[in-house]
């Protein structure tokens, strides 16, 4: 029973911003890059509904996680120029710190890091052809803490941040990310700890681009349908270009979780486009 649960969730910052003034102030920056995105700006009531719907989705994921009683939560996310820059961008990175911290507006986060599990995954990767990068310090950012705020608000168990470069071209293939997930599953199956995995990001969005505001809801629905059917493995056949043209590069984080769950069917999926930037998606798999 060592691999016990898997969830995937969007990490869009506006999920954790207060509807109204905070959300609107934050989005002003994006509108400077993509002025047309402001034309679909949701009303306060629509923002509040999005927040409530996201909280409901997170509540289902959290209940599933807690029911699986994990001893450690692997968090697969992308760095967005906080820990890594163009002088050195790891394609896959495992955190070997003792503890990890970060802040999001007024919210502070501090978790123990499960570096023993990190070392085991590193070793297993090296032995099976996946040469992870690693390091002993990282700063948590919104890609981890937005979902953790809802899923692991109290640091009851350690986490293990693993990074996928979905952000700076060139990025890895869906197949490679799936294979990383397979390695993680193999290691987890041999551990005494109960291991759960959280993959973050997506779904469709075009951050930092004049295309902000375009959300390919059709492609996102297709992805979620494939996950409900338990056919996530087939997504490893997609090219990077097929994933990216819909603004779903962060789905590569999800591909790692999909590699770990194998052919399990998603037990719950939720989807809510936020009108101005991102298709918020949430999935739980019972293992």
């Amino acid at each position: 029973m060592p691999f016990v649960a898997a969830v995937a969730a969007s990490h869009a910052p506006n999920i954790l911003l207060e509807p109204g003034a905070e959300w609107d102030e934050f989005m002003q920056l994006h509108y400077r890059m993509a002025p047309q995105a402001a034309s679909s700006k949701p009303s306060l009531e629509a923002q509040q509904k999005l927040r409530r719907d996201a909280e409901k989705a997170y509540a289902v994921l959290r209940a599933d996680l807690e029911a699986a009683r994990p001893d450690v939560l692997i968090v697969v996310a992308n760095d967005q120029f906080v820990n890594f820059f163009h002088n050195n961008i790891p394609t896959f990175f495992v955190t070997l710190a003792d503890e990890v911290k970060g802040q999001f507006t007024r919210h502070k986060f501090h978790y123990r890091n499960h570096k023993e599990l990190g070392r085991a995954i590193l070793r297993a990767g090296l032995e099976s052809g996946i040469d992870f990068s690693f390091g002993e310090y990282i700063e948590l950012q919104h890609t981890q803490v937005v979902p953790l705020y809802f899923l692991l608000p109290e640091a009851k168990i350690p986490i293990l941040p693993i990074y996928v470069n979905t952000w700076a071209d060139p990025i890895p293939t869906p197949r490679r990310c799936f294979q990383v997930g397979e390695v993680i599953r193999k290691v987890a199956d041999g551990r005494k700890e109960r291991v759960a995995i959280l993959a973050t990001g997506g779904l469709s969005h075009f951050p930092g681009s004049p295309r902000i505001g375009e959300i390919d809801t059709e492609f996102d629905h297709k992805l979620l349908e494939i996950l409900r059917e338990g056919k996530g493995r087939s997504l490893a056949d997609y090219s990077v270009e097929e994933i990216c043209k819909s603004g779903d590069s962060e789905f590569l984080n999800w591909m790692v979780a999909i590699g770990a769950i194998g052919d399990a069917k998603a037990s719950a999926t939720f989807y809510m486009p936020d009108y101005v930037a991102t298709g918020w998606g949430f999935v739980s798999w019972k293992i």
């Binding site: 102030e25 934050f26 920056l29 400077r32 890059m33 120029f81 820059f85 163009h86 007024r106 952000w167």
Partner: protein, 81 residues
């Protein structure tokens, strides 16, 4: 041409409080620390993230030039990463 230094300046505005402070008080002096093409330097001084992106800045770093714009200086955006 590589836009490494253009992105580096923007990354430092995001992650290095001392670099931000210097850029706020003396932008020309701050820019002297980076190997920038004349059009990159001009675009940074003009403060338009769309133009920076066209010159090769990563879109999500280009936004950080707005940190020097008095209108956006206290934006909640900067209190998260």
């Amino acid at each position: 041409m590589s836009s490494y230094h253009l992105n580096r300046f923007l990354f430092d505005l995001k992650m290095n409080p001392d670099a931000l402070k210097q850029a706020e008080s003396n932008l020309d002096g701050a820019l002297d620390h980076y190997e920038l093409a004349p059009e990159e330097r001009d675009a940074l001084k003009a403060g338009d993230p769309r133009r920076l992106r066209q010159l090769g800045a990563h879109g999500m770093l280009a936004l950080y030039i707005m940190r020097l714009n008095p209108e956006y200086r206290s934006n909640i955006y900067w209190s998260q990463k």
